[in-house]
Amino acid sequence: MYDFAYHKPTTVADAVKILAADSDARPISGGQTLLPALKHRLNKPTSVVDLSGIAELRGIKRDGNKIVIGAMTRHADVANSAEVKAAIPMLAMLASGIGDPAVRNRGTIGGSVSNNDPAADYPSAVVALNATVVTSSRRIAADDFFQGMFTTAMEPGELLVAVEFPIPEKAGYAKMRNPASRYVMAGAFVAKTGGQVRVAINGAAACVFRQKDMEAALSANWSPAAVAGVKQAADDMNSDIHGSAEYRAHLVTVMAKRAVAAAG
C-alpha cells in the first residue's frame, strides 16, 4: 500500500472541505472495499478522509413513512435494527447476508452505495424501494443515482450522507451468491410501494437495473408464477469464470420468482 495522509474530520462540512482542496483525497468508511483496493495498489490517494468521527452520518431513524439510514451505519447495525426489521424486514435480511460477520461489523451502507459494485447487495434495494440518496449537496432519486459499473451520479468530493427508504407494502429479495466471495451472481429485489411495483436486478449486469417486463407482470398479478414466464435476455449480462451470460439471465428469473415468494 502506498502511504497517504490521514484526516478524521468531525463534521460533513469539514470532510467536504478537505475533499474539495485535494482531488486525490478519498473518503474511507468501513474500508472493506477501499483497503483491499489500496493493498493491491489499484489507486494512490494522497490522503484518506476517515468518516467515522462524524456523528451526523450514523444511525437509523423512522421518519413518517420512511426509514432513514445514515451513511456510516454498518451492515450489522441495519441487520439488527428493530426499526428496520419492523418496517422493511427484507432490508434487514439483505444486510444480514452481506459478506461475513467481520465484513458486516465494518462495512457501511454509504460505502456500498457509493461504490456501486455490480455484485453488491444494497443497490438493488435502493432501486426497488425507490429510495432517495441524500448527499452533502443534494437529493438524488434512485433511478438517477446508479449510472454504470462502479459509477454513480455523485461528483468527486461529494459525500453520501444518508439513504431514505420509503416503507413498502411488500418487499422481497433473493440472490445467488458466489460460494467463494459471497458477492451476488444474480439477485432480485421486488417491491410494491404505494401500489407501484419495482423490480431491481443486481449482480447480473454491469450495473443494477429495473426489469420492466417483470414489473408489468407483477403489476397485473403479484405472484411468483407471474414472473416465472418472463425471460431475461442474455445480451447485456455479465460473463466471467463464475458464470456465463446465459446462466445469469436464467438466474434472473429464478431469483425474481424467489423474491416474490419471499415477499408473500
Binding site: 500500500m1 478524521k8 474500508g31 483497503l35 467515522s52 461475513d100 465494518r106 466471495s181 459471497r182
Partner: protein, 169 residues
C-alpha cells in the same frame, strides 16, 4: 508520524505508525503479538480476526489509525494469567478442531463473537453460516463446528464443564 493510542488485551499502548499501517501490522510488528495471522491479501480468509470494541473485525482490513481509542482483544488475551484456557480454546483442544493451526486464532476470535452475540444458542447450520468469513485448509470444519457447539454451553453457563468429545459422537 501519526500516533495511535489503543488498549490491547487490557494494556494501553501509544504507538507511532504510518497512516497506511494496518491494525494487524501494528499488532504483529510493533506489539509483537504474532498470534494474529495473515493468510491472504484479499480480506477473505479471516486468519487475522480480532475483537475491536466487542465486534469481530479483520485486522488486515482496518487501519491502525482507525483503532484510535479502541479496546482490542487478540488470541493472546483470552487465557487467564494462570494459563487456564478460555472455554472456546479449551473446546478447540478437546474437539481436535485444528490441524496446522494457522486459521485457529481467527477461528477462535470469530467463534467467541458469534457465541456472545447469540445468547439463545446456535444450531449447527447457524454456526457454519457464522464462520463464513474464516477459511480452514485442513480440518474440513467439522470439528470446529462441534467445538463451538460445545463451547457455547459453557460460555452461556448452561453447562459447568465442557462436554467431552467422545461423548458427543
Amino acid at each position: 508520524m501519526p500516533q495511535v493510542t489503543l488498549t490491547v488485551n487490557g494494556k494501553t499502548h501509544t504507538v507511532e505508525v504510518e497512516a497506511r499501517t494496518l491494525l494487524v501490522e501494528l499488532l504483529r510488528e510493533k506489539l509483537r503479538l504474532t498470534g494474529t495471522h495473515v493468510g491472504c491479501d484479499t480480506s477473505q480468509c479471516g486468519a487475522c480476526v480480532v475483537q475491536m470494541n466487542g465486534d469481530s473485525v479483520k485486522s488486515c482490513t482496518t487501519l491502525a489509525l482507525q483503532a484510535e481509542g479502541a479496546t482490542v482483544t487478540t488470541i493472546e488475551g483470552l487465557a487467564k494469567a494462570d494459563g487456564t484456557l478460555h472455554p472456546m480454546q479449551e473446546a478447540f483442544r478437546e474437539y481436535h478442531a485444528l490441524q496446522c493451526g494457522f486459521c485457529t486464532p481467527g477461528m477462535v476470535m470469530s467463534a467467541i463473537d458469534l457465541v456472545e452475540k447469540h445468547p439463545q444458542g446456535l444450531n449447527e447450520a447457524e454456526i457454519r453460516e457464522g464462520l463464513e468469513g474464516n477459511l480452514c485448509r485442513c480440518t474440513g470444519y467439522h470439528n470446529i463446528v462441534k467445538a463451538i457447539g460445545a463451547a457455547q454451553e459453557v460460555m452461556h453457563g448452561r453447562s459447568a464443564t465442557l462436554a467431552p468429545a467422545h461423548a458427543a459422537e
